[in-house]
């Protein structure tokens, strides 16, 4: 039984979707550069290699079993009858993409999109684990992420799962809608980053005996800002492809998506720059960059269904949230997150999910499967409740599951590098060579002052 039908994509939509999917790796490249720039110079090579390995492993594991559990609209799935209503819990596709024709059909495009987007989501925790997360442990954690937690939530949101069915089953708007992945990619990655930051603990020297955090600035602002620009291009592809595949947006809507994605990122970075200028007398480059990525993350869910003015508001709120959240996480909650992944992707992603419920105006008749019976009347009442249920699922189910799995992994294979590794730097300790061999080594914060 397949309660939600797959969208029927036109030839133009398929071609546009393929082009947009090809842009998605640029988002991963951008995030990798941002994470590397915000880390220490003695871990730069390690950061980039880990990013590459994580993307590679995520793609392999996703093909092996991830897509089998994620599935797609209109495809076979395991159903549970809850008070007479079918709840799709997990897809029932064969492993290793068997019986799937990779011929440009919507399901094949969704599989291809998933293979790239799972890599992007898996990169996000690297920002929180910078300078202390072992390469092997990051790969093992990625395997759990790409093979278990990511496909499960992606099925619920994108594969016709119970969250997407909230509209047809319970009349909650059009069900949980997350066109570009504010929840399925960004918040998933951000919450995984939080779980790992708890498990890994703070970097040595980050917090003094009095509990006050020491500033450990990123080593390369150019990487950070260039990464933001690359991520922008990638996000345009991510949001457009996601909207076409999972919300059946028509190709012409890509123009609105590009405008909204850009406006949200622009508003967020300007807000972050203004707030830091007012508070610290000078705009902070890394926080403004984090604001940019936060704006992109928040734009994803609603990019195809809001007017540009609403995208501006989403971006302004995302920028402010990122600045205050980075401070709260570091100072008040004592969680060491060098890349700001928890705030940028977790907090801003959750905001993006909720913002859709407040601002989205859907076309009167969407030719897609996210339409429920309530939409026959043209109403979207309850959409905010569907979004709230999705956000509650991320925090109440995905976070404990991710923490539990990674805690178990930590028992079997220690995730944090040994003290010597932190002292020498991840490059020398794990790879045997640094990223900048001709540069002089900077002061060691482990030396007594």
């Amino acid at each position: 039984m397949t309660p939600l039908a797959a969208p029927d994509l036109s030839e133009a939509a398929r071609v546009l979707c393929i082009v947009c999917i090809l842009l998605v790796p640029l988002a991963g490249t951008g995030i990798s550069l941002v994470n590397t720039g915000l880390g220490r110079s003695r871990s730069a090579s390690h950061a980039m290699l880990t990013a590459l390995c994580v993307m590679a492993l995520a793609a392999v594991v996703y093909c092996a079993c991830g897509f089998a559990w994620q599935g797609y609209l209109g495809r076979p799935a395991h159903l549970l009858l809850v008070r007479g209503r079918p709840w799709s819990w997990v897809a029932a596709e064969p492993f290793f993409l068997r019986r799937l024709e990779l011929d440009g059909s919507p399901v094949s495009l969704a599989a291809c999109f998933g293979m790239l987007s799972v890599g992007l989501a898996a990169l996000i925790p690297l920002g929180a684990g910078a300078d202390r997360w072992r390469l092997g442990a990051a790969c093992a954690s990625t395997a759990l992420f790409a093979g278990c937690t990511y496909p499960l939530f992606a099925h619920w949101a994108w594969g016709g799962g119970w969250l997407a069915q909230l509209g047809s089953n319970y009349g909650l708007g059009r069900g949980f809608v997350d066109a570009g992945g504010s929840g399925s990619i960004q918040a998933m990655g951000g919450l995984t980053a939080l779980a790992l930051a708890w498990i890994l603990g703070a970097r040595r020297g980050k917090y003094g005996p009095d509990g006050a955090p020491a500033a450990i600035p990123g080593h390369n602002a150019v990487y950070i800002l260039f990464g933001c620009l690359l991520a922008w291009v990638g996000w345009v592809g991510l949001n457009s492809a996601g909207a076409i595949l999972f919300a059946a947006a028509e190709p012409g809507r890509a123009v609105l998506i590009v405008a909204n994605t850009t406006l949200s990122a622009a508003a967020a970075t300007l807000t972050a720059a203004v707030i830091t200028r007012v508070r610290f007398r000078k705009p902070d480059a890394s926080l403004a960059a984090n604001g940019w990525v936060g704006g992109l993350a928040a734009s994803s869910a609603a990019c195809a269904f809001v007017v540009p003015a609403a995208a501006l508001i989403i971006g302004i709120v995302a920028g402010a949230l990122v600045v205050f959240s980075v401070e709260a996480v570091e100072f008040w909650l004592a969680v060491d997150d060098p890349g700001g992944a928890i705030s940028v992707h977790g907090v801003a992603g959750l905001w993006g999910v909720l913002a859709l419920g407040f601002f989205a105006r859907f076309p009167s008749r969407l030719p897609n499967a996210v339409n429920g019976p309530s939409q026959a009347l043209g109403g979207d009442a309850g959409q905010w409740l569907a979004q709230l249920v999705g956000a509650a699922t991320l925090v109440g189910f995905v976070l404990p599951l991710t923490y539990g799995l990674n805690r178990l992994l930590d028992r079997i294979y220690r995730q944090r590098v040994a003290l010597d590794g932190e002292r020498e730097g991840m490059d020398l300790y794990e790879l045997g060579a640094g990223a900048y061999p001709e540069f002089a080594t900077h002061t060691d914060e482990f030396m007594p002052r």
């Binding site: 809850v82 008070r83 909230l166 319970y170 909650l172 708890w198 603990g201 703070a202 917090y207 005996p209 509990g211 909650l333 004592a334 969680v335 009442a381 309850g382 409740l385 709230l388 249920v389 956000a391 509650a392 699922t393 925090v395 109440g396 189910f397 976070l399 404990p400 923490y403 539990g404």
Partner: protein, 59 residues
Amino acid sequence: MRLVGFLLLVAGWILVLAAVVLLGATQARAMFVLAGIAVEALGLALVFRTHLILRGSRD
């Protein structure tokens, strides 16, 4: 204490699911969903608090 925090997170989520499945009226459903989210917030606060205490004891 950390385990209790995570259990509260899951309990809040189950409350949200129960509200969606069992309640029909929009207002009652919304109230119970918000109550579930409040339980999740409590659980999250407890996990953060545990993290702070454990970090303090390590120092």
